[in-house]
Symmetry: C2
Subunit: 112 residues, 2 copies
Amino acid sequence: MVQYCSGLDTGFAALAAGTRRGILEHLGRGDASVTDLALAFGMTLTGVKKHLHVLEGAGLLTTQKIGRVRSCTLGPRRLEVEAAWIQGYRQMLEGRLDSLGEFLERTKGESA
Amino acid sequence: MVQYCSGLDTGFAALAAGTRRGILEHLGRGDASVTDLALAFGMTLTGVKKHLHVLEGAGLLTTQKIGRVRSCTLGPRRLEVEAAWIQGYRQMLEGRLDSLGEFLERTKGESA
């Protein structure tokens, strides 16, 4: 079993390439072999394997050799920590905007 | 005004470093000068400027020189597209799990 890093650095870095996001979306429609993915993305096997290695290292997919075919499946991670970080950040920004709105409303009342 | 790229590649790459996420969280509590940030993160001015350049290039912060001080503010982007992509991906995964659950339920009913 491949060791993977569940850190945010590794997760976000894995998402920072259109081809890798495309591979995740493709596997969302069903498991695929490395050869299928290379064909779907018009890449060499070596090229697609590099992307798969990054995704596997981030825990976003696993590969398994069945006979002569290496098959790719999504998981075990489902971008939980990345989603939580972005949500927390956006909530903080909304909180700041709300505070600013309340301040402006209060100031308007005081100056009326 | 600095040109920025609103692409997912640039946004996710900007988030793929703990220091850069820390800078965003720090600025969420209020604007800060480049010197403040260098002190807060125990970095050199050159080091922190490299991270600010990446964040500014992704549209996640802007800098403005006021007198002799360069001040950093969050925005204009608020990780909208990154949040939407991750949400879409996770919804797709949930959809797959729901389908699998329905299939198993149906199969169980048939075999009963």
